[in-house]
Each structure stands twice: as structure tokens, then as C-alpha cells.
Symmetry: D3
């Protein structure tokens, strides 16, 4: 298996790209596809609003289009899935969005999904998108931690806020599985799962897992 | 009332802009707001795919942002509502999308809404968007006529196809109100309504009507 | 445009009729349709129960029927929309109900709709009706202020209670648009919007706006 | 058990009242409550439109109110359930509507409910009501036979049309239980069930069964 | 009427069987069907988990199958309805499950249904089942009392906990009808209804009532 | 990675087990978990009814329980997911059901899911289960081919029927992804995908893929 999966971070924050890259190590090894993570240099600093997501979408689908011949599957690593449907129009290679993949994976892990978001204004955007996928009724709550993507690098404060959000999702809303609502939260997955005691899905991992499987199974997606 | 409503056609088809401009004449007159329709020069030829819609979105919200000081309300005149939510983040003036406004208006005109689209691939895009608005369960069918935006100028063939789509919506799906699923269909509204016998909503008219009312009522939308 | 819109207050409270009449002034002027508000002398004192709504319904649709030749559009100004569907059977002129119109308008103003009701028992009635319209999933809460229609005249106490209800809708339920759940609340719209900072819809204004637009556009509703 | 159930036929068609009275014989006998069927003299000839239903509602709830002291449970025998919620406000005795009871009973008889209606215009009215009860998603289709309530007396033609509707519900829509969508169809229940091979619910029987059970169990409904 | 209804308690707790037997006395008398309650000797001690429900299901449907010739209707008296759909495949006699029947009956008693469960883990199981029946949107909450089936025999502590759960359902969630979410709660129905002031449905009574009615009406269920 | 995934075929048809075993080869290789497929000797011949599924469920969850110490993840390879929720109560290792996994995977492959079933009676069972997972609204149709599990071995006739079902799903219902509704259909996946031109999901492959990913990521599922 000498395939290549291209993971696109639509924001231009290299730290986010590096952290997600490390989180994808479990998928690497002999007989495994190559997984390369790239940063969109022209992307917004963080995708923290609908304008950011809208700005990123054309950059993302063009990147997919331009790389069609040198990748076998694509992952769009932003929880707003910017450009996902457009990219699918432009390539016959499989394309995965991390919000769609994170929720689809969570369905198999628990009946009541909780989401942790960065900023308050993400909640309605996430919910509206989940409705468009008909997956909203599985989500019991979406709790924001009130930090920007850039602020996700401060491990101490973020850890506290993520644990608090996880605790509220479990206790106040009965969540039994959590999806991280931002690609930049990857480094906090394990600690949250260990402390909170319910499965935690890093959506970038979920999307890459789906890409790996699609490549193994040679599932055709010529739409 | 000396307000100004800026209607933005996100595609660069001037014929579409001219036809929608004519369709807005009923809202003009003394004591009425000024209604100006503009064409996005850099926009796609027609918005006929998700890529087109994604490409248009940043152009649209930037146009809203740049015109904030010289307009009192905005209408995004494409049935995919590109850039609608982003534009709302960037201005405290009311912004209306024609899909959202067309469906909201149709709710008051009939219990079973039929939509007429241009191309087959619009159907799933429309339905997904209607789900994100929680308005999908009022829509009984979305029938495409199989023509591009540019082809909407050929009145003879379009008229036949629109009447056929309207007839199918009414007879096969029980629609009792129709929403035109493209800003470029404005010129066919009246004929379709007369021949088919059920109300037909031109969504650009619906959105401009909503804008006129919001201005009259001075409804604040500072989000 | 020399059309006439007949606004029917189904309760016999003249104060309510007068207040709604004043609230409709923004729709008046040269080139505007005549808007006349009438009080149903035989109607209940206030529509505060299902029995009141059921008692009003035949009075309303008969009034529409009897006035068919001297009005061009009708508005039923009670948030239970009594007689709305029946009236539509009896005339080919457009008929609008304020609950349907208020919710349809709110859809364009915010993703999360809050409703303010008069009495506790209105909540289930409103919700059941919203379900029949498939609009319930957009409503995040319906908060009653615990006052009868007659008591809505006491501006001091009502203002306090309305502000409190609006605050709860925004803070506890995340509403970003409010619909007044009673025609008698018209006079409090502006203060609530100014103090609460999110758009507030007076449903009678919303329905009259829809009527004005339908007349301008000459939309046929021959069902 | 010396209780009395009052069954109210809201239309003034005595033939309908007589037929439903005969269909209730299985509930009569020693130790059984008295079941009396009455005809509303002032009611419409048949309830064939929303105006008919709205006209009947106040007659129905007043009849319940006036008979509170001489009945222990009430059944409103029209498939539009006119006056049902209002009647429940006016008495602490249990009140049943035949549409609500027919659907609730059908839920236990099959996963896919078909409804047979009289006239085409009943379909949207029925569906809107089922939505208000959150029971619409169990209904696979509502097929009208195109006859008025009065015409239901012509057994030959009605039998043919009912069998045809039942056949379509089963074959085209996969219904595995049928609810008769009009009190006047009672006399055709048995033949339809025998010929069609799936359970057929006469909703008046279903509502009276619910009333009998509530009386046996002394379930309190003081709301 | 010399029919026989066989009520099957799928757990092997004789106390539960005896209590439900007493609760069915209102359905007994001259002209009434015989109602026999049996205990499944090989059943689990209580059905308190999905494993318990899965273990019971084959025992239940085999019992129905083996008793086809000596009963005219069957009731499965466990709120997880184990074996219900399988039993229906194996007999042409009507079979009722108490969860399905309890919810169907509650629909006629109130718009907002509250459920009282035994253990916390029942809540998701119940909700998942209600979704499979499309009845979940009528349920406002499911409150567990934290006791096992065996512990339901301790009347003092159970009474307190049931009253508390009922109070919370009514006050915090606005329930206006309660369904007991366990066959073993039968003996507490009356006290809860009297103290709480809203109707309380014992689902075993509801299912037996449905069986009695089906037998009276000779409704065929040959699937 | 020296983990072991135990795939349980709940029916006793060895041919089905062998075919699914072959279909899992793409997941085997160095650095890959061991994947062992076992046949439940006491299981039904095929799971073709609710009784079959109910009979299999306890066998399945006991097999999971007994193998807890010698497997790291479990897959239940029957499209009714018998014993899935019970098994999850009994082990802290991840357990996947192929229906849940097949649908969750299809969500990422297309907006409109079609299912191919064996027998007609599977359709309602599948739909009811999909509702319990809140995934039903993504499924556009479930088309049965009218063959038993045993008959799936006759490649000639099955191929024809599967292609026909796939064609109908795509053309008549607009499906853009297909899920095979039976573990025994694995050998037909590739041909169907090639001929029909839209992605086809073998649900056993989907569930094993999910298990492989969960093991790689060490996601904890201690519930």
C-alpha cells in the first residue's frame, strides 16, 4: 500500500498543523499510506467565524483540485468542513471532512454525543451544519471553552477548560462520547478521555481513519 | 423613507441582474426605498455547483462589508445564499438571502412547497441547506429543469420546461405553492402562476419585500 | 396602489385594536394600501384559552367571507391564528395569520426563536400549532408573563415582565430573535428590542408586511 | 359499573349517528357503561372542510360543558377532533377525539399507518393535525375516496371505493394497518378488514374503547 | 365473551406478577375475558439492562408461540417490550407490549409525557426504543428512581422516590401525564396520581385494556 | 500492533463466514491486528426475521463476554446488530455492529443512502432500527431482493437481483451510496460498485475498519 493521504489544515497556524501531524502517528508504519499534513499559507489565522470558513472554502477546494494527481485521498482538517462538498465535485478521489467524520465515528461510540467548541459563536454554526447532515438529533450539547484557535497552544489553561467542558457535557447533558470541535484540540484528546472516562474523538484522527479504510477497500467515489 | 437596499447578484451574468431589477419595480415609487441591483464582476458565470457557491461567498460578504455605509439593507440574490451568514457577522444592517426568504414567504402561501431548480445537482444542495434551516419538511419536491443559468435567457424553451416542472410539482407531489429556485427565473414567475393556478414566489422579490418591511419597521439586527 | 387590507382583531378589546392600529402606521403613506383594523364585537374579551380560540374562529372566517368584496387582503390579528385555514377556503384574497407570519419572519432574523406568551396555558397551544406548521424546531422556548390580555394595558408592570421574559429567552435559552406571542403586546416591541439587543417581531406588523408585499406583487392565491 | 359515555356526532347527519351507534354494540352489555350517541342539530351537514370543523368546535365544547353532570366520559366523533382541546379545558371528565384515538390505537397494530379520507381537501387538514400530535411520521399515506359524508350512505359505490383505497394503501404505500378517516365509514370496517387482510381501525370504536378503559381504571384527568 | 388474555411477566419475580395481577382486577367480571398472569421461571430476576431484555426476548416469544391455541391475546408485561415484534411474527392473535401501549395511551391523556424508570441505565434504552416507534418527541423526560426491580417491593422508600420523580416531571419538565416505566410499579399508580394531580398510566393496565378492546372488536391482526 | 479482532457471524452458515473472512483480507498484513471470524454453531440458519434476531442476541453477547480476555475488539456481523447494546454492557472492549457501522460509514460517502435487503420483511425491521439510531432520515429506500441468506450463495441469480436493486436505488430513489443490508452479500460488493457507479459499503468491512481504527487510536470505551 503506497498511497498518499493529504491532510489540509485550512488555517495558517503551523502549530495546529504540527500537533495534528503528531496525532496521526498511530496511522503510520510499514504497509500504511503516507500521510502528509499541509498548512494553507493564505488561510485565515484560525477559523473562528463563518467569514473565516467562507474565506477558507475556495482555498481548500483549489488545493484538492491542484493535488489530485499526487494524492489518493484528502482530509479537510477544520471542524467547519470548509470546501468539503465543492472538493467532492472536483475530484474522484475520496474527500473527508473532520466534522462529518467525527460525528459519524461518534455514532458508533455512544448514543449521546457532546461537542467541545472553541468560541461561543461556533455553537450555532456547528448545529446548523449538523442539521444539514441530519445528525443533529444525536448531539446533546455543544459547549464552548471561550478560546481562539491561537490560544489553544497554552496547554495549562486549555487543559483546565477542556476538562471542565467535558465534565459538564457528561454530568449536565448525559453525553457518553465527546467530539473535539476543532482540529487544534488534538493534543488534549488523551488527557480528556482519561480524566473524563468516556470516549473522546479527535475528528482529524477519525477522518484519516476513514481515509485509510477507504484506500484499503478501494471504494470508488466517482460521483 | 430615503433608505437604500443593495441587491447583490453573485454571478457575473448581467442579463440576470437586469431581469431581477425589472422584477423589483413593484417595490419602487415615492416613499419607497431605493433598490439598486449590482453584478459581481468577479463572480462565476452562474452558480451551478457547490464550488460556484463557495467561490461567490467571500466576494459577497466583502461586498456587503465594503458597502455598509452606503446601504441600509442587503439582499443576496442567489438561491444558495452564498455568504449570507458571514455577511451577517460583518454588518449590523439587515441582510437577506433569497432561498431563506423565498421559503419563509412560501410558508404563508401554502402547506406544501415545491421548488424548481436549474440543474439536477442543485437538488441535494438545496435540500441540505433547507435542512440546516429546519425548513426541509415543508418542501414536497425540488424539480430541476436541466438548464444552466445562461440558458435561462431562451424564453421559449425555458417557459415550456418551467410549466412542465410546475405541473409535475402540483400533480405528482401535491405542491400548492412554488418557489423559483434560481434568481434567473424571475421573468417566468407570472406566466407560471397564471398557467399553473397556484402561487409562485420569486425569491428575490420575497427577500426585497422582507428588506423593505424591516426598513419600514426599523427592526434592529445588531447581533 | 389603492388596495385595502383588513386587519381583524378577534377579541373585543378595543384597546388592543387601537394599539395595533398605531403599530401599523409605518405601513401607511402615499402609494400605500389602506389598512383598517376592526374589532370583533362578539369575540371573547381576550383569547386566553383554546375555547376562546375556538369561539373566535367562526366569527373570524365569516368576517373575512362577508368582507371579500371590500378588502384585498386580510390579517387575523391573534397569535392563535383562529379561523385562518377556514378563511383561506372561503376567499381567493390572501389571508395572513399573525403567528404563522411572525414565525416566518423571525426565521430570517435569527436561528433561535424565542416567544413571549401571556398565560402559562398558551405555551402548549402555541407549540402544538408550531408543530402543525413544522416550525417548532426553530423555537427554543416560549416564556409566559402570566398576565391576561386585559392586563396588558398596565404599561409599568407589563414592561418589567416583558423585559424579564426577554432576558431569560436570551440568556437561558440562547434566543437571538423574539416573537411577541400576542397581538396585545405591540406597544412593547420597541422598548424590548432596545433593552434586550436582539430583534423583536410584532407578529401583526409581520403579517401586515406580508400582506402589503403580496398586494404589491399581485401574487395570486386562488387555491 | 353504571357510568355513561356520551358520544357526540358533530354533524347533523342522523344516519351517521345511527351507524356509529350500531358499531358501538360490542362495548355494551351487563357491567358495561351506558353509551349514548347524540347528533348536534346545529352542526354542519358533514365536516368536509376547515370551515365545517371550525363551525362545529364551539358547538361541541358547549355540549360537553352542558353535559358535564350527566356523563362520565365524552367522545367527539369527527376525524377532525373539533373542540377536543377546548372541551378538555372545560371538564375534568376524560374527553377523547376519534382522530387522536384512532391513530394512538393504530400504533399498536402496525408500524405503517394508512388513512382513508372522504374528500381530497381532508388530506392536508389531517396531516397538519397529525403533525400537531407528533404522530405524522407513522402515517405512510392518506388516500381520499372523493365522496362527501352524505354520499357515504350509498353502500355499493362506497364499498368499491374503500376497497380500492385500502388496496392502494397496502400495495403502493406498504401500510400494514388502516385508520378510517371519517366517523361515517364505520359500517365498512369489517368488510375492508376481511378483504384487505390487514387490521382496520374504526376511530369511533377506538375512542370509545379508550373511554371505557379510562372509566374502568378511574384515571383522573383533572388538568 | 369467553376469551382469554395471557399476560406474561418476563422476569421471574413472583411479587411483580402478583401485584400486576391485582392491578388488572378492574378488567375482570361477568362478560369480561379471562386474564391470566404468568411468570417466566427462566426469566432474569428483573429486566434491568439490555442483556436482561435480550435474554428474555426468546423466552417470551416462545411462550407466546406455545400458548397460541389456549389464548386469544397476549400482553408482554415488561417496559422494554422484549420479544414483541418476534411474537407478532409467530401468531395471528393480537400481542401488546406495555411500553408501546403505555405511550399510545398517554398520547390521549396529555401533550407532554413523563416517564419514571427504575435504574439510570434504563433511560437511554427507553429513549432509543421510543425513537424506533417515532414516539420520542412526545416524551419530555424519563426520570429514574435508582432502584432495582426487587427493591420496588419496599413500599415506603419507593413511594417517596416515585412522588419525588413525579414532582420533578411535572415541575421541571412540564409533564402533564406520567407513564410508569416498569411493570413492577403498578401498585404505586393510584397514590402517585392522587398526590401529583396529573394522570398516571400503568402500562400493563394500558396494554390489557388494548387487548380487551381488540377482542371485543374482533380486530384481525393476521399480518 | 498485535491486537485481535473477533468477528462473530451470528448465523450458523459457514459459507457466509468464509465469504466475509475473504472480504476482510484488505485489513490483514504486517503491523495489522489479527482478524478472526467465527460462526455461532447454535445460531439460526440465517437471520431473516425478528425471531431469528432475538434468538441470536443472547448467543452473541455471551460469546463476547466469554471472549473478553482473548480479543481486543468485537464485530457483530449481522445487519440486525443482534446483541450489540447488551455486549457493550458486558465488556470494556469496543464492540461494533455492522448496521450501525455501515450506515455511519455511508454518511461520509453520500447524502442519500440506499440499502439492499434480503427479504421483504427486513425492510420495516431495518427502518425501525435506523430510527432508534436517528439515522433513518439519511436513508432514501431499502429494496429487498427476495432471497434468503442461504440463497445468497447462488452467484448468478444474486448478481442479477443485486444489480437490479442497485439500479432502482440509484434511478428511482436518487441514492448516491449503497449499503449492503446483509453480511452474506459481501462477495457482491465490488461488482455492484463497478456496474452501478456509486460507492457500495459492505457493512462488515465498515465495522472491521472502525475496529481497526479504534485499536490504533487506543480509544477507551469503558462505559
Amino acid at each position: 500500500m503506497s498511497n498518499r493521504i493529504l491532510v489540509i489544515n485550512p488555517n495558517r497556524n503551523e502549530q495546529v498543523t504540527e500537533a495534528m501531524d503528531r496525532a496521526l502517528d498511530p496511522f503510520r508504519g510499514e504497509n500504511c499510506p503516507t500521510i502528509d499534513c499541509i498548512t494553507l499559507r493564505e488561510g485565515p489565522l484560525g477559523i473562528e467565524s463563518q467569514s473565516d470558513a467562507d474565506a477558507a472554502a475556495p482555498l481548500v477546494y483549489r488545493t484538492v483540485y491542484e493535488n489530485e494527481s499526487n494524492a489518493d485521498a484528502f482530509v479537510i482538517a477544520c471542524y467547519s468542513d470548509p470546501g468539503l462538498r465543492a472538493a467532492r465535485e472536483l475530484t474522484s478521489k475520496p474527500v473527508f471532512g473532520i466534522a462529518e467524520a467525527g460525528l459519524s465515528t461518534a455514532i458508533m461510540m455512544g448514543g449521546r454525543i457532546g461537542v467541545i467548541s472553541i468560541l461561543e459563536n461556533a455553537v450555532e454554526r456547528h448545529f446548523s451544519y449538523a442539521k444539514s447532515l441530519s445528525l443533529d438529533s444525536r448531539i446533546v450539547a455543544d459547549v464552548p471553552i471561550g478560546l481562539s484557535v491561537a490560544e489553544l497552544a497554552d496547554e495549562e489553561i486549555v487543559t483546565v477548560k477542556m476538562l471542565d467542558a467535558g465534565y459538564r457535557l457528561r454530568r449536565d447533558f448525559g453525553a457518553n462520547v465527546i467530539v473535539l470541535g476543532c482540529a487544534g484540540m488534538a493534543r488534549y484528546r488523551q488527557a480528556l478521555e482519561e480524566k473524563n472516562g468516556i470516549p473522546v474523538i479527535d475528528p482529524t484522527q477519525a477522518a484519516v481513519a476513514a481515509a485509510v479504510s477507504a484506500l484499503r477497500l478501494k471504494i470508488s467515489v466517482s460521483r
